[in-house]
Symmetry: C2
Subunit: 490 residues, 2 copies
């Protein structure tokens, strides 16, 4: 709190890094690329988890837990999966330390070498499908609708808090089905759940689409995703849902007896969102004063700061505020009445602004006399003096309004920064300005790769709702049937 | 379900292993000592987590997340901690795999060797206290009341599902305080929370006590624990709460400016329970027919099985049961109306018995005619034919009664298997029969060790509620001031 944040305009990247630290969301640890999620950050993640978990369970999914460590040989079983995941990962080679004979702490015991190295899971398809083999014999054992909440690890070279870390927290759903159709429906259902979560809880508009073959999950036949726009115009992939076809079933020999009494490989899906969503949430709404949190995910939704001199004034305030706090809590609203004495009201205002508390109330002696209270909205930073009478309902309505307003604001921002682009010259200019470019592409991986090399822009997705439209590829001029979304991305 | 469980009398150990598997709680994975927690088992663990987490939060604790990997050198900083934890653990030495030049899958890339090896956390004191150093400057930064839910790993040689696994899930609380008194109060508070959880939710009576110096946590000044008796008379340590003194603060140089404006080392505690509680829950109550679950932790509290021929009879049953199901759900009771057609009622009865569903209702055509319904209690296996009218309240009352009854039964069992023992001969006889032996001990680690060698019995704890009583040590005859609890243990 000693100095203000860098502004977004000044240095967006620094603004993000500083905000994550100053708002007590996360920090780097002694282990390269591994973060510490601090209590305030974790409490937002817990709210995300609860909301998502409820949605998963409402759609018939159950949670389970699979081992952290995967035998090295498992990774090689699905050919494209190994290319995608078996490279940058943490490898356990030994299972014991011993005292250093030279007296310098402990050393790895060379006699305790594992016969086969173990990998810290970068994702769990392999260990889960090796288990499904034992769980599935007949169509009666299907579907399996399972999810796990877990930590995973990918040895990233360039890391950033929440956005890209070596260890991160996530959920990974892994389902098994008797028919292709059912697996495709599941893949789409989960994409819709992610999109509903992003829009309803995170107040973050997303585009639902499919990935191109280049950007597909290693081992998937089709990858669906949701893509959000950050305030610097860059895209952030916020969740993915994969139709795995029979790839993992074939790799791990998972067959079932179908209704026609024939052996068939099982159809699979997997889908996940991670603590990366924390990065998205921060970058979607926050401003130069700090976090702006959607009320549905804010750990503290309402803070009340008393302004007073002496115990009598404080007691007068308390006698009005205590019942209000009780009434709000009864309605399920998380409220903090901050009567701590070691900080000034001004300090508290700045602190709660930094932490993104959606509604702040301030009440002083004059308010008590006049029957008023001051309400400040975090999103607009507008303060209003209001009658105390009826304030409870005003607070409830304001929280609802903030949830909708910040969504609308983000939606407006995205609309203002999405461009239909029809010439390569236009593309080159617009991509430098940031935003989503809706443009024709000839469908070839080579063209996609070339555009990436030239502009650092990738195809974020082929939007599900895009209309067929005859056109010419932005780079090659070859014929194209529909527009795709290009952007630079996190 | 093909054959019945081994009986407890026949082979207690086999009974446990088979029950865990057949009731779909957990199974072994391809990685030695690492278990798969299956959905039914995990749903019980989720209920435990929710209840504990609520209790932690009610007492002012917050959750956070610290890295999975710990630099090897951290483990050496606290002298006794390294002795206890730095030995049998999983060591990450490399961060990359590459394609085998001989074409056999992937191999560890020798060029990707870490400068310092990383250890998969066996517990997180070291990484957390190294962080607290940056978080704490003044008494105003204290207390820190933090918990984390995480996976941890200890390379156990002999593993058993839930009871002793290489990887397990747990919560670990780590608190930091300005005074010794406050830290001691915290240690005791958390012990009381564990004991309340065990008795109220798990219906499992526990003895609260202190560990002897021999059995203390590596790095603690004092270890409190709760000890439960299993049905074979063996003890199971179900939770521990440690007063760390200033040990970790000194090891990681965590000082604060106290109110007297002097630099002082911070006082610490840590406390944890794990998926081991699942093993305790199973062994405390279950019988030769399967699981017996306390209603407060049962994923399905009530199951209703219709017995019918043809659609008309089923519809008659549905028209009575659907409103009952809705009414029970409204009261927060988890209820399953099992109308699946591919299994007989008899099969379903056995299956729900195996899974420990506390209350089972069965209703057939004659019940519809007579206005009755059959209620079976899982704990006593008593079936009663009851008027349908008023059954909702009977179900609610029965669930409450089962929760209390199984606690009382376990309490009675413990009382019947706890013995005051006053001679060594008596000790030798009684310890073979199983149970808790309350006996005098001279307070020396050597005597404790000797008794363990001779009988495999350890001092489970020095009970907090034990009275001072002059006596003679059971082994040496040396003077003793109070009795301690001896038992063989899991
Ligand atoms: Zn996309
Ligand atoms: Zn004990």
């Amino acid at each position: 709190m000693s100095k203000s944040l860098p502004s977004r305009a000044e240095n967006y990247s620094e603004w993000y890094n500083e905000l994550v630290k100053r708002a007590d969301l996360a920090e780097n640890s002694a282990v390269r690329g591994c973060m510490i999620i601090k209590p305030y950050g974790y409490s937002i993640w817990e709210k995300m988890q609860r909301a998502l978990d409820d949605m998963f369970k409402e759609t018939g999914h159950v949670n389970a837990y699979f081992p952290l460590l995967i035998p090295k040989s498992f990774l090689s079983k699905e050919a494209s999966h190994v290319e995608g995941f078996a490279k940058e990962c943490a490898v356990v080679t030994h299972y014991r330390l011993k005292n250093d004979p030279n007296g310098h702490g402990v050393i790895v015991d060379p006699e305790a070498k594992l016969e086969e190295e173990l990998i810290i899971r970068p994702t769990s398809e392999t260990v889960i499908w090796s288990t499904y083999k034992n769980w599935v014999q007949s169509y009666r054992d299907l579907p399996i609708l399972m999810n796990q909440w877990a930590n995973v690890m990918r040895w990233e070279m360039r890391t950033r808090l929440f956005l890209r870390t070596a260890e991160f927290l996530w959920q990974e759903g892994h389902t098994a089905h008797a028919t292709k159709e059912e697996a495709v429906v599941e893949t789409e259902q989960m994409l819709n759940i992610y999109s509903e979560f992003a829009e309803t809880f995170m107040a973050m508009p997303v585009i639902k689409g499919r990935k191109t073959a280049n950007e597909r999950f290693a081992g998937a036949e089709d990858t669906y995703c949701i893509e959000a726009m950050m305030q610097d115009g860059k895209a952030l992939q916020a969740g993915t849902s994969h139709f795995l076809g029979q790839n993992f079933a074939k790799a791990f020999d998972v067959k079932f007896l179908n209704k026609a009494n024939q052996q068939e490989f099982v159809w699979g899906t997997s889908w996940g969102v991670s603590t990366r969503l924390m990065g998205a949430l921060i970058m979607a709404h926050s401003d130069d004063q700090g976090l702006v949190l959607p009320p549905k995910l804010a750990p503290i939704q309402v803070v009340i700061v008393p302004i007073y001199k002496g115990e009598e004034q404080l007691n007068n305030i308390k006698s009005k505020i205590d019942p209000l706090v009780a009434a709000l809590k009864k309605r399920g609203i998380s409220v903090k009445f901050d009567i701590s004495e070691n900080q000034s009201p001004g300090f508290k205002f700045a602190e709660y602004e930094l932490k993104g508390v959606p509604v702040r109330l301030a009440i002083g002696n004059r308010d008590i006399e006049n029957g008023t209270i001051e309400l400040a909205r975090r999103d607009t930073r507008v303060k209003t003096n209001l009658p105390f009478e009826g304030i409870e309902q005003v607070i409830v309505d304001t929280l609802d309004d903030i949830q909708i307003s910040i969504y609308q604001k983000a939606l407006g921002f995205r609309a203002a920064n999405t461009f239909e682009v029809n010439t390569w010259d236009e593309f080159l200019v617009k991509i430098e300005e940031g935003g989503f470019l809706s443009a024709h592409w000839d469908g070839s991986p080579e063209t996609e790769e070339k555009i990436k090399e030239l502009t650092k822009a990738t195809i974020r997705c082929i939007p599900l709702d895009s209309q067929e439209e005859a056109g010419k590829c932005i780079l090659t001029g070859n014929p194209s049937k529909q527009r795709v979304i290009f952007a630079r991305a996190y």
